[in-house]
């Protein structure tokens, strides 16, 4: 501080020696906005003199002046030239619109007086200004603080306020400043709830560009560009972005002794002060994607084209080919899911390599590279890829298609395959999914629902009828058996009678001496009796039959041998002379006795 004073004193002294032409210039905007602060700057090429400000209009609220001096001294060949200047800055806020005249200011030195030219200024009513908030009319000491509040602002600019879910919002964080900033200390982003943030590479801010907004000059700079992908529908608020900037600020000593504009020059200081600014909160309306979503929609929102390419369509077995599916356009490329391709079995598929090439804000290409290795020979059909995206411009789902390919695989699969899989005899069948089985084709063998038999009365009538029929058959049969039995009984009852009749005839024949005829009559009587008693028809009548029938009736063997003897005797006597055998009378008596015995046994 001391050295400055000494230097100044030296310059003050030396300035006396050179007289020079004095000029006083004024720099003021041609127009300003009501309520907005603007600057009027007076510059005079002298340091020693008295500046008398003009009389400002009563509607002007004036702060200042900020006074600064500079001096440039050169020695050239022993000649010293000195250029000095004084700058006074007034900060003015006009409260009434209209055209105003700024009266000349005067600068008085010991030798002369100069006046600045007269300036006209137009105060307009339009209040659309970028500065955020203003503080005025405060004390002098707080004036410095107040000015940074309005001179420095941070804005988050978005390209649209209404989007579909997934549709990217391009956002720019921009700094507006009218004061010197030495640096940015801290940039604090909110958590962007409901959005996915993707930063776009932004060159680091080195210097502010000049931009005039509403007639006011600002130093502007883009701090960061980024894309916001809304994830959930609804009105989503973006919280303020906060920034701490290092602001160069003039501080003054509030000492009553030095409370004079003159001293301000010497005892004021420029210091760097952190200052916080924040953007205004924003609300973005996120519309939900229309339902129902198509099955092959994988989250891509934007305007896209789809293309596919295959590295080779004819390939040797086990040689890799590459299928590239490229999605090109603008939209949420980073969130576009993998397309579903049903590769034919026999081609080994690896997970795709996904590359994104961005050519600007939210546009570029996203490519899916599938490495395919055919493991079998033959012709394989890679189906056309269908990929549905939502186009916010058309506000509907658009299905994109890329061509399919036919791959011909040649070569001998066995020779190569044995090498890596020498000890694997086969592989388990891979089950890919589960679904119901397909419908049956054909005519369906349709038939009308038939009437059910078990509920029909006539069905049960069948059973009754069958039962009745069986009963009838049984009855008839019984009747017949009974009748047959009656015939046998009759013969049985008549047997003894007819036998006695024949025996009586034989007796009378014996008396007349006709022995042969008598014998025949005895035989007939015996045979007839046996036939009637045993119910044997005449045609089947033999000795054996009679005996077996008698045996079943348990008549006793003696009786049977007796019958046999009598029968033999009668037969014998028919062919031989009577004298040789038994007398016919004795045979007759035997026969009578035999028939009587049989009648008793067989009855």
């Amino acid at each position: 501080m001391k050295s400055i004073v000494v230097t100044l004193a030296f310059f003050l002294a030396s300035a006396m020696m050179f007289s020079q032409e004095l000029t006083l210039t004024v720099d003021a905007p041609e127009s300003a906005v009501r309520g907005q602060r603007f600057r009027i700057v007076y510059t005079v090429n002298s340091t020693d003199g008295q500046f008398s400000p003009p009389r400002f209009d009563s509607s002007f609220s004036v702060q200042g002046p900020q006074q600064s001096t500079s001096r440039n001294v050169q020695w050239i060949n022993g000649q010293m030239t000195s250029v000095s200047s004084t700058t006074l800055i007034y900060y003015v806020v006009a409260s009434v619109p209209g055209k105003f005249t700024i009266a000349p200011a005067q600068f008085v030195t010991k030798k002369m007086t100069v006046s600045s030219p007269e300036r006209e200024i137009l105060i307009t009513n339009d209040a659309a200004a970028p500065a955020t908030g203003q503080q005025q009319g405060q004390g002098r000491s707080s004036a410095g603080n107040a000015e940074t509040g309005s001179e420095l602002s941070l804005k988050l600019l978005v390209n649209t306020r209404e989007v579909y879910a997934g549709q990217p919002v391009s956002a720019t964080l921009k700094l507006f400043s009218r004061i010197n900033i030495s640096g940015i200390n801290e940039l604090k982003y909110p958590d962007f709830k409901g959005f996915l943030r993707e930063d776009i590479e932004t060159p680091q801010l080195k210097s502010l560009e000049t931009e005039v907004i509403d007639g006011v000059q600002y130093g502007t700079g883009v701090l960061q560009r980024f894309l916001l992908y809304p994830q959930i529908p609804g009105d989503i608020r973006i919280d303020p972005v906060q920034m701490t900037a290092m602001v160069q600020q003039r501080t003054s000593m509030n000492d009553p002794f030095f409370d004079d504009p003159f001293f301000e020059n010497f005892f004021s200081n420029v210091s760097t002060v952190p200052r916080q600014v924040a953007t205004q909160p924003l609300t973005i309306k996120v519309k939900p994607l229309p339902e129902p979503r198509p099955a092959d929609f994988h989250g891509a929102v934007g305007s896209f084209d789809l293309a596919s390419s295959l590295s080779a369509t004819e390939v040797e077995v086990n040689d890799a080919i590459t299928l590239t599916i490229t999605l090109k356009g603008s939209g949420n490329l980073n969130l576009a899911g993998e397309p579903v391709i049903n590769f034919p079995q026999g081609i080994e598929k690896y997970d795709p390599r996904v590359t994104v090439k961005s050519t600007g804000t939210a546009s570029g290409t996203r490519s899916f590279e599938y490495l395919l290795i055919p493991r079998n020979t033959g012709t394989f059909e890679i189906p056309p890829v269908s990929y549905t995206v939502f186009d916010p411009g058309q506000e509907k789902y658009v299905t994109l298609r890329a061509a399919g390919y036919t791959v011909t695989v040649t070569g001998n699969p066995g020779t190569v395959e044995t090498a890596p899989q020498a000890y694997v005899p086969g592989e388990d069948v891979r089950y890919l999914g589960q679904d119901i089985r397909f419908i049956r084709n054909g005519d369906g063998r349709l038939a009308m629902l038939p009437d059910t038999l078990v509920t029909a009365t006539w069905y049960w009538m069948w059973f009754v009828l069958a039962l009745l029929a069986a009963a009838a058959v049984l009855l008839l049969r019984r009747e017949q058996i009974k009748r047959n039995a009656d015939i046998a009984g009759l013969r049985n009852r008549k047997a003894a009678k007819s036998a006695r009749k024949r025996l009586a005839k034989a007796e009378s024949l014996l008396k007349t001496g006709r022995d042969e005829q008598a014998n025949a009559e005895i035989a007939r009587a015996l045979w007839g009796f046996l036939a009637d008693k045993l119910s044997i028809p005449q045609s089947e009548l033999t000795r054996e039959k009679c005996y077996s029938s008698l045996r079943t009736k348990e008549t006793g063997e003696e009786l049977i041998t007796e019958i046999d003897r009598v029968l033999s005797a009668t037969e014998y006597s028919q062919y031989a002379r009577v004298s040789e055998g038994e007398s016919p009378a004795a045979l007759y008596r035997r026969a009578v006795r035999l028939i009587g015995q049989l009648d008793d046994v067989l009855d």
Partner: protein, 252 residues
């Protein structure tokens, strides 16, 4: 007026074209719709054929498939169960029914039926009730014939054999008759029903006043115990009973 006539003509022609198509044509048309992905269209045609009284295991199986694909899981189960009654040994029906059944919300600890009941039901479903009825009558007639032979041919050699054969035929006839009756009650008067409402409450009494006992979801199989107006008393697979609105279920 003109519009009315137009509507009338359209309706008439619609009815005529529907009537002019034979059921086989409509059946194959539904198959084409299914193949092209119009599952609900195919299901509507199958359903119509069923309502008109046409039956075949293929029709019911396809109807189940169409309903499953169009998202109506309850109807799919209903038709698979119906198809199973016509073809108890069909493996495709079992498979699809199992897949459709895996999407049912309600799970029960079910007690399996006694094995001989299951076998008896299975045998009874092997053919139709009418074939069982005819066979039963044929057996009955055979038994009578053998009985008559046994009773009349007193001295025939196979007399004893004919007696045993007659007895066997009579037993067979009784068994077949009961199979015919069982088949009829399973196929035409099945007491099981499938819940078709997505959610329905079982109450302790018919009407909306009864205490709420349980909640069922679509696709669950219940057994109808009683019918009273608009409410059926059903028994759940775990044995619990409750009253449910009749329009929330369809009998198998």
């Amino acid at each position: 007026m003109q519009r009315l006539i137009l509507i009338f003509i359209v309706l008439i022609s619609g009815v005529l074209t529907a009537a002019s198509q034979s059921p086989e044509e409509r059946y194959s048309q539904a198959g084409n719709l299914y193949s092209s992905g119009d599952y609900s269209g195919a299901a509507a045609i199958y359903r119509q054929l069923y309502d008109e009284g046409y039956r075949s295991e293929d029709l019911l199986y396809n109807a189940g498939n169409a309903f499953y694909k169009s998202g109506d899981n309850a109807s799919a189960i209903l038709f698979y169960e119906r198809a199973k009654l016509l073809a108890p040994a069909d493996e495709d029906i079992d498979y699809n029914l199992q897949i459709a059944g895996s999407k049912i919300t309600d799970r029960f600890e079910t007690v399996p039926e006694l094995f001989f009941v299951r076998w008896f039901d299975f045998i009874s479903l092997l053919t139709t009730t009418n074939i069982w009825a005819v066979l039963a009558f044929a057996m009955f007639a055979l038994a009578l014939l053998l009985g008559v032979i046994f009773l009349t041919r007193a001295r025939a050699k196979g007399r004893l054999l004919s007696f045993w054969l007659a007895l066997a035929a009579m037993v067979l006839s009784v068994v077949m008759l009961s199979l015919a009756l069982r088949n009829n009650s399973l196929v035409n008067h099945n007491k099981n029903a499938v819940i078709t409402c997505s959610i329905v409450t079982g109450r302790s009494a018919p009407g909306e006043s009864g205490t709420e006992l349980f909640v069922l979801h679509s696709g669950t199989r219940v057994r109808v115990e009683q019918e009273l107006g608009l409410y059926f008393e059903v028994q759940l697979p775990d044995g619990n009973k409750g009253w449910i609105r009749a329009d929330c279920m369809e009998k198998i």
